[in-house]
Symmetry: C2
Subunit: 696 residues, 2 copies
């Protein structure tokens, strides 16, 4: 059964609803969102939403194919626990310091100079506007969870400066001006110029800010770009020019714009872009690299630029959530299976190759050379969040958790002021790497000229409470565990409070207090993590059988105030092996305890100063792993120790030598591991996630 | 002690010998080589050479710091044996088919159109001229070992068409003409435009052709380019413009031009280029990638584009051979140690990364992703040939042999008509690789638009006999072993015939008959390969003690006609391990027998059709390896068999799984290995050099 709009139907429907008839376009002109919402009711499908406070990370309230609905970010308060430190740091250190960095590097001057308020030349790469927008989105999410008057004031001012440069045509971009004006939206520029990418981030930032404050200033500017400039010139219709997103991003932004305004035309435009445009000549390499330009539904594998691919998948999933197009759903699942079977790093990162910041071949997952861009891990989480909404399948939540706790969390330093662009799984600071993201040998830096990752991390952490729960027709889903309190309601409007008390992820015990306003029948879906082999779930002290790893455990009953759930997950440390086709991981194991992937940093090893390298260590899988919490280490982390050996001469070996060479003498040692996310927060030291093992 | 010319001295000496005084430049103008050699004696250092037949691969006869002197290519006849088939194929299949390919792809039309003889548009990348020149060099070497009237006729005609486009200024290039004329030698173009690279290959081709035929037509055109265009405009001197070779190549060509003409000014120009030019603004990344642009003597590691680095090292070693500059020698040895300790693939290939066709970090030697460009392995051999000439140290010959028999020999198919651009150490034809050098999944192709490797392979095999011997002040060095006969003379002029009879490299027994014209005292230096642990050397049946692996074994005695040497090298198959820092090789062994590195092709395994992949095989190091010759397989190869296991379910594993998962059942099997150089000559099949092992 095919629900989707074919290309033909797009063009046909466009002829009715959006092609350049003066009426269709003139309608929202100059009125912006508030005008649209308040004075001009939309079609019956689109329900104008005036309660801007009720939207979550996404607003899936009217998405017909979203099995799960988001819960507002502000409805969940994360309390003291694992994530509170990170989120506090994000607010007090990361967002303010990134504000200053953006200004110092001319990202605001780029706007100011166009209104004569700055004499600075244009600075930064073509996508520089997006950095400011992504930061604005982080602020928007942050303001959703609490008033920050000073931050809001700064951001209001920035937004005024941004919208001030919008041209009467609706066009808004600080790069394609002056001498470069003639390049705007040229086909070659569409593939590389990031004009639509910037607008996509502008829309996302604008929506988050609108949902925080009700202020539609930035959002209206975005709508003007789309309504006045984009659709009339590049939208569906035989008289318009071709369109390719180049760096996918605008697709999901457009669909969220439909959700925000209630106007489906933006979703239709997103579908039109996702379909590709055969009028734009693209080489196969571009189609692969950009992950756009051909019908999304013809994709069979993840390839090319990892962030582009992840964002394209986000947009395509959003499109499915609105249309139910089964071709999209089929393709998305083919791609997800490729991800999980061939392309996913154990830290949840994706993108093996530095060249093109790209996916490699199947099973090509090098460790030291891993790219694992922070943005790609975030894109992975965003995509899986949408897949989860579509399906309610816990396998997607497992990927979210893997990425969030590891390959995303590693992207920001513990003090919140420096960031990883790459997140490799092995590192040698003494190696003379030619990685352009290493500055003076440091992998964490406050600023990158391509500074996509830092504000991306900030918006992710700022919106984190929006990922804890979803609601469904029959109840509520619990996705993530940390000390927190949700105050929201079920679909029938019944108010519901859910309180979590836990030391997760260090402990597997979670106490949940469920308090509906009045007693009622509904289902609580508890996520049983995929790594939790043995589980215990008690309701009001009574064990309930049937919880299975990697599934949502549905507890359907009549819930009343202060009903108690006691969850106990299996915190056994797992030593994991990789598929033998992952050549670099052969003969190695990785340590995972709960959702946390661990790593060895050389400086933690008892004999690290004896001139030995990490290459000389092995662990013995048959031995027990001991876990203990070190409150003063790295802001407080669980540390693992495991029996191993250290070979004294391993690093002196020649490049090749006979296998019969007597082995270097080995001494027993105890290997110490810290959470991967916390690596590279002390003196530079070599690091590895995958550790050679030896059966003894 | 510092022998080299400093930059200051260059400029000073240039002011005397080569800067744009009308006299200095006008001198050779229009006269060309024969004029220079016959009518205008050079300075006392430069001895005009009229006997063009006596030069070898290089002409080191007057190189003061060459401990070893080359033996003419024509002085050694390679007879039926290991290399004869390859060389015959090179002559009857490769050189003729590449001629046709070059013409079909417009490489000659590029010249013809400039004289109105063709209406075809310019075809191919900026360096396309070099393809024709390198092919001409192959022909030159081929004509040095035997008359080929038809081939000579064709090549003479091509040379006439090439020189016909030379402009009065001396400039000669088919790409920077018409609209692109204004770009010539612009600084940005010098870094990428390959103008000097093309002239370097022209000079090398011209010299080989001159040494074959005595015909200086092409050589004179090259001299005109250098004398009339290059030196006056870009040579040393304060009024000239900056120069950077961009892709090193011209350095070694200029020095060979000095050796050929007896005029040292070309060596001085090469030194000037090797010194770099601070007037040309280069980013650090360019300096790294191009391996030129800064003083060669400031280099401390191999990096950047592997072929560029190897060719730069060739030029720098040539410069040392002429000048004895100890700073160069020191740098060359630092770089060579980096090569042998961190960067050398076991097949003698270099260049780990596809990105930039470049060296990776130390120990970054992936297998399937290995680049190992054929040209880089050839550059490696060429460099080591020069280091050997400078030192007489057998460690350089070991690298030559490793590259020649493996990573170079693999570059040409057995039928001589298709070529590898990359030479990976593992391959899966069913993998959806995005390698741009794979055409329809085939790694061997008749043509690449960047067709540097095929003619490079052809010139290497055509000149092979020139690498067998060298002479020294006190005798003769034997570098390579194969059925062959040398007719040459010692430095004192005494005629010497050396005949080898052997089944090398399949057998380690070599019988050498030494026949000086008259009895005399001199030394025969026999190379004992580094892999040959146990050795026997007999002179006239009597064992001589002292032969050591990896050294030249000097036998100083009075030699007379038909003196017999019986050598016996150790043909034990070695199972080799790699340094643990080479992460992909961990838990794997490679097989080497004599100089031949082996590999597994899946189609040779008894159970290859049972749906199993190479990833399921292991070998047991403790078992014996059996070697047997299969005369009808792959033109006749030694085949190894070794006990191993095959796991039936290895490929079905998920991406990550608990280390405690019961292992898949394994069956004993016998693993069959073929020489690496012969891989991919049958039905496409997966291949690996490094094979997982398991101690049982």
């Amino acid at each position: 059964m095919k629900h989707g709009l074919s290309r033909r139907r797009f063009i046909a429907s466009a002829a009715v609803s959006m092609v350049p008839s003066a009426v269709a376009i003139a309608q929202p002109k100059g009125k912006g969102l508030m005008g649209m919402l308040m004075s001009e009711p939309q079609s019956s499908e689109s329900k104008g939403k005036t309660d801007w406070k009720d939207a979550g990370v996404l607003d899936l309230s009217n998405s017909p194919y979203a099995k799960l609905k988001t819960v507002p970010i502000r409805a969940v308060v994360i309390q003291d626990g694992f994530w509170s430190q990170r989120r506090k740091t994000n607010l007090v250190a990361s967002i303010p310091s990134m504000h200053d960095e953006l200004l110092e590097h001319g990202r605001l001057d780029n706007f100011l100079r166009l209104t004569g308020k700055s004499n600075e030349p244009q600075k930064g790469p073509v996508f520089s506007d997006s950095d400011l927008y992504k930061w604005t989105e982080a602020v928007g999410f942050q303001l959703q969870v609490g008033d920050q008057a000073e931050l809001k004031k700064k951001t209001d001012a920035i937004i005024r400066d941004v919208v001030a440069i919008q041209e009467p045509s609706g066009y808004l971009n600080t790069y394609y001006v002056d001498d470069r004006k003639s390049l705007r939206m040229q086909y070659d520029v569409q593939t590389t110029g990031h004009e639509l990418y910037c607008i996509g981030h502008m829309l996302q930032g604008a929506i988050a800010y609108y949902r925080a404050t009700g202020d539609p200033t930035l959002l209206d500017a975005g709508i003007r770009f789309v309504d006045n400039f984009l659709i009339p010139n590049y939208g569906p219709g035989i008289n318009q020019k071709g369109i390719v997103s180049g760096h996918p991003e605008i697709e999901m932004a457009l669909i969220e714009l439909s959700r925000t305004t209630g106007n489906p035309k933006y979703t239709e435009l997103a579908g039109y872009i996702l379909h590709g445009d055969s009028r734009i000549p693209l080489r196969p390499q571009q189609v692969s690299y950009m992950f756009c330009g051909i019908p999304f539904t013809t994709r069979t594998k993840l390839e090319g630029h990892a962030v582009r691919a992840m964002y394209a998948c986000c947009g395509a999933t959003d499109y499915y959530l609105e249309t139910g197009d089964q071709d999209y759903w089929k393709t998305l699942n083919v791609l997800w299976n490729d991800l999980s079977a061939h392309q996913l790093y154990i830290n949840g990162g994706v993108g093996a190759r530095a060249t093109g910041e790209a996916f490699g071949d199947a099973y090509e997952l090098p460790n030291a050379q891993a790219y694992g861009e922070s943005c790609a891990a975030i894109g992975n989480m965003m995509w899986n969040w949408r897949m989860l909404a579509a399906s309610g399948d816990a396998k997607f939540t497992d990927v979210i958790e893997r990425a969030l706790y590891n390959g995303i969390n590693s992207g920001m330093s513990l003090d919140g002021k420096t960031y990883c662009y790459r997140n490799p799984l092995a590192f040698d600071p003494s190696g003379e790497s030619r990685d352009r993201h290493l500055v003076d040998g440091k992998i964490r830096n406050a600023w990158y000229d391509t500074t996509c990752c830092p504000p991306n991390l900030e918006r992710t952490f700022a919106s984190l409470s929006g990922y804890f729960y979803s609601t469904s027709a029959d109840g509520v889903y619990v996705h993530l565990y940390d000390n927190s309190e949700m105050n929201w309601h079920l679909h029938d409007g019944k108010a519901l409070k859910v309180k979590q008390e836990t030391n997760y992820p260090w402990s597997g015990d979670v106490k949940i207090t469920v308090s509906p306003a009045t007693p009622g029948d509904f289902v609580i879906y508890l996520r049983i993590p995929g790594w939790s082999v043995k589980n215990s779930v008690k309701v009001n002290g009574k064990e309930i059988a049937g919880a299975k790893a990697g599934e949502y455990f549905a507890i359907r009953r009549r819930w009343a105030e202060n009903d108690m759930l006691d969850l106990s997950f299996d915190m056994t440390t797992h030593l994991l092996k990789a598929n033998p086709a992952v050549t670099e991981d052969r003969g190695r194991v990785a340590f995972q305890r709960g959702p946390i992937v661990f790593c060895m940093e050389h400086l933690d090893q008892p004999d690290h100063d004896a001139g030995m390298s990490l290459a000389g260590y092995t662990v013995q899988p048959a031995s027990e792993t001991t876990a203990h919490f070190e409150p003063h280490l790295l802001d407080g982390v669980m540390v693992l120790t495991h029996a191993g050996t250290i070979s004294k001469t391993a690093t002196d070996a020649p490049l090749y030598f006979p296998a019969s060479t007597p082995k270097a003498p080995e001494s027993p040692t105890t290997v110490k591991l810290i959470p991967y996310y916390a690596w590279a927060n002390r003196t530079p030291s070599s690091m590895q996630v995958w550790i050679p093992y030896k059966e003894v």
